[in-house]
Point group: C2
Chain length 314, copies 2
């Protein structure tokens, strides 16, 4: 008999409460910004992939007690070819072993049986008989441009395996407006997509009230966040754009429910390269980069927790 | 000095004329449908990846004289994990060595510097100094939901390397209407995206009149095809949905210009599993599957060529 695992919305909520954190750290290793000590002596693709892996392991170790999990941006691994995809597989395996919620930021999308192949790659097969587990994560990001038959295979795979997905609704980049903000009879495209997200997740709510179908809503559009929270009351929100992209704590408040739950906030560059940025550059510098990563994650955790759960200090 | 390669629109047009074909064959190897003789005796992931590679090589050999190129659907390789990505890299390398135009059907999308990482993976870096070539193809498919700053890095990489991209405009699946057909002040979302595609490609036209920024427009929506041809006069169209998805020659005529150029038509299942389908099943059967693949590609080539270039028999 197959054990059906817990709903992803519940798992995420429990992890937020047990870690006392709503922080996700983005593992976006840009090769030219790795700490000096990790760079390969002789440049080679395998050496670079190895350095990326060592960096990720150190970041995961540094933030393990401070965060909900990590978001791993597949693009930076795909850029390194097959060696990079091996590093991607090793990274997600390492983070999962540390008990982290691991989000594969893959933004995958395709139609019907092809979407099912992507879903199998990242979330497992609906029958749970996964012979290949290289790219399995707790949740994957999905692009909604193809509509329901491109998204439902991910929902089915997620439901069968206690995993989840985050559908792109309103992304954090400046030109997200070009398609997402088009006005359709009084609602924007992203609001229509939000309605679809609510529908896709409606049959998959857990005890926490949250579903396994979440949404990506950029921190760089604070006014829209509250509206999206209302349109998708059961969707966990993944909020990128904090820190390096310009958003601060005030900008993300709208993403949370009244208990400070229902959302996780991602920071990538602002945390993993903290030793290059004020105020951490002065205090730690490049030698003590691990501590700078720790401090940046700790500060982010405390500031968001305090703002969203004021009666419950870290 | 760096040699700037020919524009992708020109390369595609030349290849159509030299092959006397507008056919693209989709390499979507579904593991459970591989020919009996290629299936691994003992199931294993590596064995499956090996079988997929053997199948692709046989299909490429069978259709080499009949087609413009191949479209390789990354999802079916990602599903096999790292071993699958190795098979993906080997497949595109083999097809490129045979002189084919190779399209990576990856539907990648992300913002700014992350989109640039995907672009580097699939189309090369803007400075052309590619240390990693595992996933380099002649063109890649791109999802436009994130707008210009998610697409322009692909355009820049393509321009620098003589490569191209096909932006999803109107996809062939039934629920493409849910987002793509939303009405925005008298135009649909996909028509707005088509306008963006025309804009992105406007500075990158070749001698043929065609740009390096193409568009994916499903054969299953024949009435929309002609309209999209008008909205994007310089965009090469990649038309999926022929055959197994239901579209026939009459449905795709609108995608071509008056000379029968400017579009390529993809068939996947209808060609690569032809030995399972009438009329090829009766004539060839599973033993002579290579010949069935050849015959299906040859028939498709002739029927489309005849319909779009009636004065110029194959």
């Amino acid at each position: 008999m197959r054990i059906v695992q817990r709903n992803f919305g519940d798992r995420l909520t429990e992890r937020i409460l047990s870690q006392r954190s709503q922080v996700i750290v983005g593992l976006d290793p840009r090769v030219d910004r790795l700490p000096e000590e990790l760079r390969p002596a002789t440049p080679s693709v395998k050496g670079t992939a190895h350095a990326v892996m060592a960096f990720n392991r150190a970041v995961v170790d540094a933030v393990a007690d401070l965060v909900v999990g990590v978001k791993v941006q597949v693009a930076f691994y795909e850029q390194l070819g097959c060696a990079g995809m091996n590093a991607y597989a090793s990274t997600i395996r390492y983070a999962r072993e540390k008990g982290m919620i691991v989000i594969g930021d893959a933004k995958r999308n395709d139609i019907a049986s092809t979407a099912a192949a992507y879903a199998a790659a990242h979330l497992g097969t609906p029958d749970g008989a996964d012979e290949v587990d290289d790219f399995l994560v707790d949740a994957v990001t999905v692009n909604p441009y193809l509509g329901s038959d491109g998204v439902r295979p991910f929902v089915e795979a997620a439901a069968a395996n206690g995993r989840g997905l985050f559908v792109l609704v309103k992304t954090s980049n400046p030109s997200s407006c070009e398609v997402q903000d088009l006005d359709c009879d009084g609602a924007t495209v992203y609001e229509r997509v939000a309605e679809l997200v609510a529908e896709w997740g409606s049959e998959h709510r857990g005890h926490s009230g949250y579903s396994l179908v979440g949404a990506v809503c950029g921190a760089t559009f604070p006014e829209e966040l509250g509206r999206l929270r209302e349109l998708m009351p059961c969707a966990p929100l993944l909020v990128p754009g904090f820190g390096a992209q310009g958003a601060d704590v005030d900008d993300i408040i709208g993403a949370f429910d009244t208990e400070g739950l229902g959302a996780v906030v991602n920071a990538s560059r602002g945390v993993i390269y903290a030793w290059e940025r004020p105020p951490y550059a002065e205090e730690y510098g490049p030698q003590r980069w691990r501590e700078a990563v720790w401090a940046a994650a700790a500060d982010m955790r405390e500031r968001i927790w305090r703002a969203t759960r004021p009666d419950d200090a870290v």
